[in-house]
């Protein structure tokens, strides 16, 4: 696989709600390793639903999925990339147990020895600067701490794609910077990232592609497209235009 070839690609994705109202009608959407895609759009545009479909949490009416070079139906794809494509809620949901217990949750399903789980949890908490909170009940933490625990809980599973729902909402400037720095580190670790926002991207430098979801369709907004052209790109990124993140049939990424 080339450095920026799509890791996860959805084709002909369609989702209707209620009495057949089309919420999503997307020709193609892809996430590449080490790249960050920002999805914007008004409230109710379907950004969260799209992320949940990508994560395998909500069924589409129809979708074809390519994951890691293999084409699969949606139901098979979600089993295939279990623990590798992880969705994080806008407001982190933590289980009613300790911080360490939360971080260990996904590891328990890997068939690891108890000692190995404990070692990985301790390592992850150290990495995230949360070691001092390990025995605390996760529900008693502040909002920012909860977000960090949720992220650590996901990262301990070494995901290949992270889907972050409105990660910047409610954060102050400093917390946004920290979140942006973290996303840069994820990208450097070859993790594909998709983030949603109902406003313009607060941290343009981390975004490789900005798409707007409007009337169920994805398109690179003309105004932001110009901004994206100026966006910093990693040195190993493929030449622009070779990596097709989006093909709505209307507009391809500008070369």
């Amino acid at each position: 696989m080339t450095p920026s070839a799509p890791l996860l690609r959805f084709r002909a994705l369609r989702k209707t709600i209620g009495a057949g109202r089309i919420l999503l009608d997307i020709d193609e959407f892809a996430i590449a390793a080490g790249r960050c895609t920002m999805l914007t759009g008004p409230n109710g545009a379907g950004k969260t639903t799209l992320l949940k479909i990508l994560a395998g949490l909500e069924p589409p009416d129809r979708a074809f999925v390519d994951y890691d070079g293999t084409s699969l139906p949606w139901s098979a794809a979600r089993r295939r990339y279990r623990r590798e494509v992880i969705y994080l809620h806008q407001q982190a949901y933590l289980f009613d147990c300790s911080v360490a217990g939360n971080v260990a949750y996904g590891l328990h399903g890997l068939g690891l020895a108890r000692a190995e789980v404990a070692r990985r949890v301790a390592q992850a908490l150290d990495w995230a600067g949360l070691a001092h909170l390990a025995p605390r009940n996760a529900r008693a933490l502040s909002g920012g701490e909860k977000q960090r625990v949720a992220l650590t809980r996901a990262l301990v599973l070494a995901p290949r794609v992270l889907l972050l729902d409105e990660p910047f909402t409610g954060l102050d400037e400093e917390a946004r910077e920290r979140a942006g720095f973290l996303i840069e580190r994820l990208k450097a670790d070859r993790v594909g990232v998709a983030v949603t926002s109902h406003e313009l991207p607060p941290l343009a430098r981390i975004v490789d592609l900005h798409l707007e979801l409007r009337d169920g369709r994805l398109a690179p907004p003309a105004r932001t497209q110009r901004a994206a052209n100026k966006t910093h790109r990693p040195a190993d990124a493929a030449p622009r235009g070779r990596v097709v993140y989006l093909n709505t049939g209307a507009q391809d990424e500008a070369g």
Binding site: K52, L57, R82, Y87, H89, Y93, F95, Y105, G109, A154
Partner: protein
């Protein structure tokens, strides 16, 4: 026939003198109702979860029927199970009628829809993100289900207690299916009904005190659980 005051005093004597018949009645009640709730709870709660989280055609009417069945009269349940277990009924060969097993079956049938409906309400109110978070972290459906249930455990426990309180106090099904046989199938509610009809109030009052104490204890547990759930 003794006066109510005399009967009250006699009732206390019966309670504290380890009267064998009285304590046998109490034992039958707890044995039958605990067995019924142990069988009912896992089945009803798993089904309640499926009803709250699965999507299938006709889901709404099914939920409506389940919630309506909460109010099913105990005597109707007793009649239905009686017709199944009577010698000429489809399960007559099992010869279960007028046994504690028959009473347990009746209480299972009575408690199941109640626990299903209460469990469904509790799980429906659970934060959907619990399920989604568990699944996205790789939990298989059964583990994600246990995770959600753990998160609403106080509400589910309250549902189990409410169902237990209903079945241990019911009289209609127990009297039809157990037959109120002394030292065998006589439980607290059937004994109260019988002794009162004979004008023997002492045992009725003593058993009433046991039921009231149980109801108070269960209600106390329920309010504690509600408090714990609300604090989270």
């Amino acid at each position: 026939m003794e006066s109510i005051t005399q009967a009250g005093g006699h009732a206390l004597v019966l309670l504290f003198s380890a009267d064998p018949e009285l304590w046998n009645i109490i034992g039958v009640s707890f044995r039958v109702s605990l067995a019924a709730i142990v069988v009912t709870a896992p089945l009803a709660l798993v089904l309640a979860f499926a009803l709250a989280y699965a999507r299938f055609p006709g889901q709404r009417p099914v939920v409506t029927v389940v919630h309506s069945l909460q109010a099913i009269p105990a005597v109707v349940v007793g009649l239905a199970v009686y017709l199944m277990l009577t010698r000429n009924g489809p399960l007559g060969d099992l010869r279960l009628l007028f046994t504690q097993t028959a009473m347990t079956i009746g209480q299972i049938v009575l408690g199941f829809p109640l626990l299903l409906a209460l469990g469904h309400s509790a799980l429906q109110a659970a934060d959907r993100r619990a399920w989604e978070t568990a699944r996205t972290l790789g939990a298989p459906p059964w583990r994600a289900m246990l995770t959600v249930m753990r998160d609403v455990r106080f509400a589910l426990l309250a549902a189990v207690i409410a169902a237990f309180a209903r079945i241990i106090a019911e009289v209609g099904a127990s009297i039809m299916l157990g037959g109120n046989i002394q030292y065998h199938t006589r439980n607290i509610p059937t004994a109260i009904a019988l002794e009162t009809s004979k004008g023997e109030y002492a045992q009725g009052i003593a058993l009433g005190i046991v039921l009231l104490t149980l109801a108070l204890a269960l209600n106390f547990c329920l309010s504690l659980l509600h408090g714990k759930g609300a604090m989270r």
